[in-house]
Symmetry: D2
Subunit: 127 residues, 4 copies
């Protein structure tokens, strides 16, 4: 299964008055890793959209273990955990060095320009 | 169990190139409902923090059923589903009129200024 | 000239580790007031876009006088200060009660679906 | 005068229904460049805050010339344009390759933990 690892540095406005990254930012980092994983297949998400292939998040869950602070350099690990004809599941780890800050899962559905579910193209890992 | 219903209008920068609210915005709306629910107990989250009582999200999961579009007026329903000595679980429904757009759950842990788990004060629903 | 006044409550993730609303959030509140001002003319920005009329910000400047804190209820005052065939200027005041927290100005250009500058339709205040 | 150049890739949720980066995101990118410029002096903004030295934006203005699209790789150029005892002015260029997308200016004031204006420490370029 495909896997990727990207680095992000925690931005100041991503942090809240507790001085830590707000929980709503983790899905944004996860999406960054996920789109870079797609890029590895030779296609960018921008090209997908231009071709009328969209992915929408239908489920996400995040489990937070420790906070990320401003200016921390984090590693986001994303991998494909399951692929069906119309859906892709990903699993994630958000780490700072060896410390695991969060784990997460998402399910994406492939939709066309009309918003209706469609088969994932073979070229980007569909089957 | 406590329950609340708030209205939010989808903001332009909350929407992405698909023209719909990005999935990372739903946790922000859920938090708005949750803090208004706390306000009903007679205490604002601002007062909690001033008193050295913080709540951190340790788990969240969202299930998306239909997209929210720019300028939609949404209803966010939040209710307490379980309370332990140090944790509060909430359940959420995000609706546009009668249409259910998403359901969600979160778990919050009560922590002190030192970041360590502590008992939820009686005054705000602890037991 | 048209003028409007809206209320916004400062959201938790809009605040940074200093405990105050990050400066990048003010343009978002200004846009909320501006689109409500447009709504007064009987047209929503969503309807504008559906009709192939878009407004893009070509200039903005904000002068910050005092911070806005989490949970503050603010008043955003927006008014049209100048209209040309293709541009609209707005002026803003961001207040908490009688305290003036910021003043701002923006210039919007009217563009078509092709991104090229076009005349503002009469129906929404063009001349 | 100090100058820096950083690269940022436009994130999906930074883009709005027009498919371009929302104007409120530019100040966030400018801040990223500005804090990296500070890092060059041998001090991070995190260290500044830990030492009770804060910088608040008192003025910002941005002039937008062309849109930034999703997944664009941008260059943010930031330089110090003026320093007084308590204030620092920066100038910015936001570019995609050779195309200039925006120019901007900010004024920061140095404040202490009490929020009152104070002299910029010598160690980070004060005079």
């Amino acid at each position: 299964m495909h896997e990727i690892q990207i680095n992000v540095r925690v931005r100041y406005p991503e942090c809240d008055p507790m001085g830590v990254a707000h929980h709503s930012v983790f899905p944004i980092w996860m999406e960054l890793a996920r789109t870079d994983l797609l890029r590895q297949t030779g296609m960018t998400y921008r090209e997908c959209e231009a071709a009328g292939v969209y992915f929408v998040v239908t489920k996400m869950s995040v489990s937070f273990k420790a906070p990320a602070h401003y200016d921390d350099e984090l590693t986001i690990i994303a991998k494909v955990t399951q692929v069906s004809r119309v859906r892709i599941d990903h699993g994630y780890e958000i780490k700072r060095g060896d410390d695991l800050l969060a784990t997460a899962e998402t399910t994406l559905a492939c939709v066309g320009a009309d918003g209706r579910v469609r088969a994932i193209p073979d070229s980007i890992g569909g089957r």
